[in-house]
Structures are given as C-alpha cells and as structure tokens.
C-alpha cells in the first residue's frame, strides 16, 4: 500500500498550484511529521517561507509547556520547527501582535478563523498590511482555557498535567496523550455538560474553516491512508498558492489532490460544527425584548467591572491605541449607571467584534464580554447580513448603503431566502458560500 506521507510520493517541484485547489499535504521531514499535528504541513509551510525568503519573519507560538506558549516573531527556521504541534489550550489571538511598529517586511503566521478575521479587521483600519502578511488558516472547532484544561485533567481525566505529552481534538473527543504512550479521550459534549470543555465564545463561533485566510488547513476530511498523517488544505488566494508552491519547491512539503470523499467529509464536519454553533448562538445571543429590559440586562452584566481595561488591551480588532474614544471620554469619577467606556466600546465593536473571546478570557470580573458584544450587535448584524472579518472588501456596516444596488434593503445573511433577483444576489451568494461552503438554496431577496 502506498503511504502518502512517505517522501517522494506526493507532488513535488514544478507542480501547478492554483486558487481553489483542495489537497492533502504533509511535511517531507519525518521529524516534523512526528512533532507537528496532522503531518506537520503548517510548520513546513512556515519554515519554508522563512528558509526561501518568501517572508522575513514568522509570528508563532513559542512553546513553554503543553499549556503555555508565548507569541513571538522569529526569523529562525529552527524556532519555527520547535513551535510544531496543536495547542488548543493556548487561546491567544495572534493578530493583536501585528502592530505597525513590528510590521516591517513580510510576515507569515498560522491563524485560527478568529485570528484571520481579526487580521481582516485590522487591515481595514490600516493597522496591518494585508499584502505583506501570509496567513495560513487553521480549521478550528474551538479552544480551551488552560485553567479549564487543568481542572478537567484533575477532575475528569484524573491526570497530572505534568504527565501530558500532547493533546488533540479527534471526532468530537478531547484526547490527551500521556508520556507513557496512553490515550485518554472524553467526548467534548460530556465535558461541556459539566461546564468544562471549550471556551464559551468558541461554542457559538460562526466560522470554523478560515476561508478568509490565504490557505485553509485542517484535519477535517483527512481520511483513509492519510488519517492522522496529512492536512487537508484549500488554496484560498494567490498568496496561499505561493506559500504552497514555495514549500513544495523547497522540498519541505508534498501534496496530493484531495478526493471527492475527503472533500465531502470536510464539508460535512464543517456543517455539523456550524449547526452546533448556531444552536448555541440561539441560546446565548437571543434578542432581549423591551428597551428597559435590555438596558437593565447590560447594566447588571457589567456591574462587577473594575475598569482595568484588559478587555480593550486584549482585543485584536481594537486599533485605537492611546487615542481611544472609550478611554478618552470616560473617567472613574463618572457616576453613570453604565460607564462611557463600555458604551463606546459596545458601539465600536458592533461592526468589528469577531467573537474571539480574548476580552472575556482576561476579564478579572468574569464578565461574559464576548457574548455581550455579540448580543448587542446581533440585531443590526442580522439586519445587514454582516459578518466582521470575512472580507476586506466589505466595509463596516455603518458604511453600507441602506439600499442595495437592486433597490432592495435586504442584508446578505443566511436568513434571507426569498429572491428578488437583484444585483445584490452575487454578494449574498459569495458570503453564504464563504461560511457554509455550498451554494445557498434560495436567493438573496
């Protein structure tokens, strides 16, 4: 039997890679295949980009232990190699670290959907250069807070964190591999029923495959002989094709075309994940009827705020820096029922919050800020069918015309199914496909 991950069996130098290709890839280096998740393709892509000068630096996670890593910029191929492996318990958003003062030259980074979405929002605000960043998207079903992970290990898995060699999420189960070679798996549903498992914002996240990145990589759809040893990669942009060609030409990676079954499995997994998210979204972000009730809900939810400002600092889409309206026009001396800091941030985030959960991860008062921002924005987002961070060509919805070119006033969300046949049809279809990976049944309006 051919083992696809053996060097020399896949696509090599000179292969035609084009936008829209769906492939299975893996690292050529056996060491990297062992260290990296799913065949080590992502690490190989990053390392090759550095090695061949496609980029000047890589933004990656420097691993301290299984539950801790620090985002660092590096131009060392070796350091990139050492960053290999999945780290579901290190829920950082790398886009926040791409600041203008660090953005010299070309940069490559791995990106969960929320990292990629944050990058798009930062690019819209000229805080990063879209052209100079190579974004290797990673499918994501959710991440875990390390504090929760430790608690799970202690109370559910009955394992010492020191014993853990690596972890993976496989077919809905969170699997810990201990240093003695044993596997310990518990269904994510069971963990979440206990208030453990994924971070709350991941549970209602609306993007699982980062189609807004240059490449969309992951293990969904990697079946048969490649299972556990390859990465499904979809080429989303010309830059993505360049990354892949570069890695193949440099002898770092090989690919084979994904077959129909793999493609179908990947779409199915995505659809199932999105379905679960939609259900959770319905529970957490349900509209609150009545202006008085709405205000009281938000006021009460924010009453324990200590105004540390960590939510703003951690926010990857906030690009205001020191000149922020939310801080400049707010004072601890104010006696308002809800601080101007929050009021301004709610408005500011209503067209840009990508739901990454960084704000509530760092909130010392445990305020579910991501849910609050999303709930606040939900009615208008629905009205305009707007999803932040998916396209840098879509302006913030405050800038959208109230009427589409065809004269209708409909948004392009999944909720609109009656067709008017107007010119907005194309935009609607594009957004629907980006999210659901299939053609919409109905039309835009």
């Amino acid at each position: 039997m051919r083992t696809g991950t053996e060097k020399g069996t896949g696509a090599r130098k000179g292969i035609e890679i084009k936008v829209g290709d769906k492939l299975i890839g893996y690292a050529v280096s056996e060491d990297l295949r062992k260290r990296g998740a799913s065949g080590g393709l992502v690490t190989a892509l990053l390392a090759a980009a550095l090695e061949k000068g496609l980029v000047d630096r890589v933004l990656t996670l420097k691993k301290l232990n299984e539950f801790e890593a620090v985002p660092v910029f590096t131009s060392s191929v070796e350091e990139v190699m050492e960053s290999a492996g999945s780290m579901h318990s290190v829920p950082v958003n790398l886009a926040r670290y791409l600041k203008p003062e660090f953005f010299s030259g070309k940069i490559a980074l791995p990106a969960k959907p929320c990292d990629a979405r944050a990058l798009v929002e930062r690019a819209k605000r000229n805080a990063v250069s879209g052209e100079a960043s190579y974004v290797i998207g990673l499918n994501c079903g959710g991440t875990l807070h390390p504090e929760t992970t430790r608690k799970m290990l202690e109370t559910v898995y009955r394992l010492n964190p020191e014993e853990i060699a690596r972890e993976e999420i496989v077919r809905g189960k969170l699997v810990f591999f201990t240093k003695d070679g044993e596997e310990h798996a518990v269904p994510m549903d069971d963990l979440e029923a206990e208030g453990l498992g994924r971070r709350e914002p991941c549970r209602f996240c609306q993007v699982k495959i980062p189609t807004n990145a240059d490449l969309a990589c992951g293990n969904w759809g990697v079946i048969g002989e490649f299972a556990g040893r390859g990465t499904f990669v979809e080429v989303m942009t010309e830059k993505g094709a360049e990354l892949l060609r570069n890695a193949i030409d440099a002898g770092f990676a090989e690919t084979v075309p994904a077959d129909e079954k793999s493609i179908a499995v990947r779409e199915k997994v995505n659809k199932v994940m999105l379905g679960m998210s939609d259900k959770r979204k319905g529970e957490v972000l349900a509209p609150i009827e009545g202006a008085g009730e709405r205000f009281e809900y938000f006021r009460k939810a924010l009453e324990n705020c200590i105004h540390c400002g960590a939510c703003k600092e951690a926010c990857p889409v906030c690009t205001c820096g020191e000149a922020s309206k939310c801080t400049a026009y707010s004072s601890l001396a104010d006696s308002y029922k809800m601080s101007l800091f929050h009021m301004v941030r709610f408005l500011h985030l209503s067209d840009s919050c990508i739901g990454c959960g960084q704000c509530e991860d760092v909130c010392p008062a445990e305020i579910p800020l991501t849910s609050l921002y999303q709930r606040f924005a939900a009615p208008v987002k629905h009205e305009y069918g707007y999803m932040p961070g998916m396209s840098d060509r879509t302006p913030p919805y405050f800038a959208l015309k109230l009427e589409n070119e065809c004269g209708c006033q409909h948004g392009h969300d999944e909720g609109y199914e009656e067709g008017c046949g107007g010119e907005c049809e194309g935009a609607y279809r594009e957004e629907y496909k980006a999210r659901y990976r299939e053609e919409p049944e109905g039309g835009c309006c």
Binding site: K62, V72, S335, C363
Partner: protein, 521 residues
C-alpha cells in the same frame, strides 16, 4: 528594527502575585519600553489582571540611577559607598526596611546583612507588634484561593473591587457555587448578598459565620489591630477560616523570613528617625515617601538621616532624596521567588541577579559569604519546600487567642485604617446616619496608593443623600476639612454608607488614619 524580550513574571502590585508576561521592546538606540501581556496559564490569576497590573508600564517607567554621596555614580561605586556608609554607621543607629517588594533571595540576603550589623529587617507590618508572639502564626494563616470558591459563606472585610481585584472572581465563583456573600464595610458591594457597616467590636454579635466560611481580610502597614483581632476572634468562635491578604508581592515571604520580629509601624520608624535614634537607613525596594501617610513630613524626617541608602528597581522621590542609590534591575528581570498571600511559592521566571549580587557583596563586606544557589536553598528550607509553585503555610494552624491588643512599640495602635474598615475614630453615633460634620474619612487602600503610581482616582466617593444634603453640583467639587488641612475634591456618587467619605487616592495632610472630617460645598 525593534527587538523584543518576553519575561514570564509576577505583578508587584499586591500579595496575590499574579502571573503575567512583560514584553520589553528595545529600539535600535537601546531605549526599552515595556508592555503587559496575559499569562493565562498562571495558577493564581489565569491571565487576568487588575487595573494596576494593566498599568505596569507606568510602574516601570522610571528606571533608577545609581548614586554615591548624592551624585550619579557607577553601580559598583554605589555598592562600595553603601558598604563604607554601613561600616561607619553608629551601632544601634542603623535600620533596614524591606516591606516585601522584592524576591525572597534578596530579602534573606538583606536579613543576613542586617544581622551582621546586629539588627533585623523591618517590614513595616506594625500589626505584629500589636499581638503577642503566640498569635503571629494565626496572622500568617492562609489558604488557597480555591478555598474561597468552595466556601459556604464569604465574609469580606476588604473591598475586592479596589483593594485586591483578583479575589473578586473567586468570590463570584463562590457565589455561583451557592455561597452567601456578606460584605462588612463602608461601601455596598454589588456582589454581596448582604452589606453591613459595623465596628470591629460589633462583629461577634452581628455576624454568625457557619463552619466552612471564609473571612477575607487583610494585613498592611496601617492595619487596625482591633479589626484584625475581631476577625481572628470571629474565626475562632465560628470555625470559619481567615484569609489575610497583603499589599506587597512578597509581603508573606518578607514576614516569614523576618520571623515577624523587629516590626515597628512606619510611623514609629519615622518618629525614631526624627528623634535621632536612627541615623542610617537602608531601604530595599521600599519607598518610604510613598508609604508614609504624609510625604511632606516623611521627607523632612528622612532629611535628618546621616545616610539614606536605597536599593531600588524603580526611580522616584526616594531615590532623588537618597545619598546612595544602588540601581537594581526591574523586578520583571529578577531571578528568584516570592511567597504570595496564599502561601504559594512562585518563581519569577527571569535570570538577572544584579540586585542580589549587590546585597551579597555588602554582606560579604561584613564577613558573610553568600551565593544565589545557597541562599535560594535556604529560602526553600525556611518555607519547608523543595520547589516553586507549592504551598507552605498550613491552613490548619490553630488560631491562638490573641489576648488583648498590645500597644505597638512606642505608638498608639493605628485606628480606623484598613481597606474596608469602617471602624476607628468615627463618631459613636449610628454611622449610617452621621451628620455632614463628623463624617468618617476612610481610605480604600489599593496598589496605586501603595506604590505611588498615578491613576484616574482624583476624586472621593459619597452617597446620593450626602450629595443632596450638601447641595453639591454634578461635575463640581466637595470641600473636605480635616484637622490637618482641607482639600477640594471631585466626587462620585456611590453606594457609600451615610457618614462616610471614601478615597482611593492619598490626600495631602490627611494621614492614613480614619479621621473625622467636615464636608461642604
């Protein structure tokens, strides 16, 4: 091109010792700027930081400069000058102060140096002088923060929102787990099920903790001994567990290593300097000007010293005043450990021993040869531990009965201070209905005050009734007349009990004692 170094470190803001990363960006010209990043794997705070933690770049904004004989000097020269000054210091006229703003390894080396000169290290915790030695173990009692989460009832004698914000999430978790939260203080707390404004002597009659309750209080340089005694009595009588928080990252370590001896209040220390009993003072990362109730008086007093030696990780008014400054590395670059208020030994994940080496060299000048490894080993031994991230102080230490509160050495017990204390010199009339004259001025102690870091806290808090009674105008000021002077302050309307005005900012000439003030437009 900018270079970036990332340090896994500990917040120096309070005794919880939260974990974080400091990102140090060094420009081409060598200028360093720091920013804060979140360390979500930290066992203490899970990456969450309070307002002070987020403002750490301000804390680290002024690096110290070494000085000898009042003039800028090289580091080694400053260390040599300090050795000469200590050798020339009159016997019994030298004092050493370190409140716990540095590592255990530096603290222990400082203690060795002090011992070589026949004295001990002051930690400023005068509270220990107010209790018999048998009661000290109970004051050092602590437990894990997780213990708060599983408590049946939580009694708060501090304001967690202001004083120790990273305790807030633990109390919220306790509440989520079904605990009742009772706050004892001058301000209503949103998370409390019950808010009571009580004097310490009323605790026993008004509060009935069930077994399995936790009493969250604090010990700091201006603690009210009556309040601390009342909390201990309440714990002893009910079986509840006291949890004493502390204001400096290594307060607990400094206290244990000093064996809670040689403790004068900071006021007494200043009085002794003023009286000429202390001629040479060596401060280790302890800014007495920031810590003193009245910095103007403190500066006058410190100017009377023959020699003021300061070893500091930050510049400031004290280093300006000092004759000798040993400019150590910032805390985030230090190698060493701190013992937090839980009794958890935490490693500061950096590698510099510059500050330690300076102290070791000074100790060496007095015949004590110390190296980092052996000192660290001694620290571990003192706490009965083999590695960092372990707990040392057993929560099962029995609570000795603190007889009567003793009079602190040479000074009256400090009254009515304490982060959330409503006790002290407030009028004996029912405090919820006190008139606008005879209002109790109470500080909400917080890290910004302890460390002299600027914040948006230039206001006082009053309740709506007081504001209306005084006819104060929105956006205007309130005049506060105290025995030492007066101040016009902005105000915020809060759920403060009648008869109180709260401040999170140190006001000139107000002192740290709770005083009666008069309020007017």
């Amino acid at each position: 091109m900018l270079k970036e170094n990332v340090y896994s470190t500990i917040c120096p803001g309070c005794g919880l010792a939260c974990g974080l990363y400091i990102r140090e960006t060094v420009s081409g010209s060598g200028e360093a700027a720091v920013s804060v990043d979140f360390r979500k794997n930290s066992p203490v705070n899970a990456g969450k930081l309070c307002r002070f933690g987020m403002k750490l770049p301000r804390y680290y904004s002024e690096p110290p400069v070494s000085k000898a004989e009042g003039k800028e000097a090289a580091f080694e020269e400053a260390v040599s000058a300090a050795a000469r000054a200590l050798k020339a210091a009159p016997e019994e006229g030298v004092a050493f102060l370190s409140v716990g703003n540095t590592t255990n390894e530096e603290q222990l080396t400082f203690a060795e140096l002090a011992a070589a000169l026949g004295t001990g290290v002051e930690t400023g915790m005068g509270i220990y002088a107010s209790f018999p030695i048998a009661a000290h173990a109970a004051l050092s009692r602590s437990g894990s923060l997780e213990q708060i989460e599983s408590a049946k009832q939580v009694f708060l004698f501090i304001d967690p929102y202001v004083s120790y914000p990273l305790v807030l999430r633990r109390v919220l978790k306790a509440k989520e787990n079904g605990a009742k939260v009772i706050s004892v203080g001058a301000k209503k707390l949103p998370l409390a099920d019950e808010n009571l404004c009580l004097k310490p002597r009323e605790y026993r009659s008004a509060l009935s903790p069930v077994p399995g309750s936790v009493l969250v209080a604090d010990i700091h340089p201006y603690s009210d001994p009556e309040q601390v005694k009342a909390v201990l009595d309440l714990a002893r009588g009910s079986g509840a567990k006291p949890f004493f928080l502390r204001p400096f990252a290594n307060s607990a370590g400094a206290g244990l290593l000093a064996k809670h001896t040689w403790q004068r209040t900071l006021e007494k220390l200043l009085k002794d300097i003023d009286a000429g009993k202390i001629k040479t003072l060596f401060c280790l990362n302890s800014d007495l000007l920031e810590l003193a109730p009245d910095p103007v008086y403190a500066k006058e007093v410190l100017s009377k010293l023959d020699t003021l030696i300061v070893q500091a990780s930050r510049g400031g008014k004290l280093t300006e005043l000092a004759d000798i400054v040993i400019a150590a590395e910032p805390f985030y670059r230090k190698r060493g450990t701190v013992l937090n208020s839980e009794g958890r030994l935490l490693a500061n994940g950096a590698s510099s021993t510059r500050g330690f080496e300076a102290l070791a060299k000074l100790a060496g000048a007095f015949g004590r040869q110390l190296d980092f490894e052996s000192v660290q080993s001694e620290v571990f031994g003192a706490f009965g531990l083999e590695a960092a991230d372990e707990f040392t102080v057993s929560s099962e230490v029995p609570i000795a009965v603190p007889c009567e509160v003793m009079k602190a050495q040479g000074s009256d017990p400090v009254l009515g201070s304490g982060s959330n204390s409503s006790s002290g010199s407030v009028s004996d009339s029912e405090p919820w209905h006190a008139p606008c004259s005879g209002i109790g001025f109470v500080y909400s102690f917080n890290p910004f005050m302890w460390h002299g870091v600027e914040d948006d806290n230039n206001f006082v808090e009053l309740n709506l009734g007081t504001v209306q009674k005084l006819g104060l105008v929105k956006g205007g000021t309130v005049r506060i007349k105290a025995p030492g002077g007066q101040a016009d302050m902005r105000f915020r309307v809060s759920d403060v009990a009648d008869g109180f005005v709260l401040s999170s900012k140190k006001l000139p000439r107000m002192g740290f004692r709770s005083v009666e003030v008069e309020l007017s437009r």
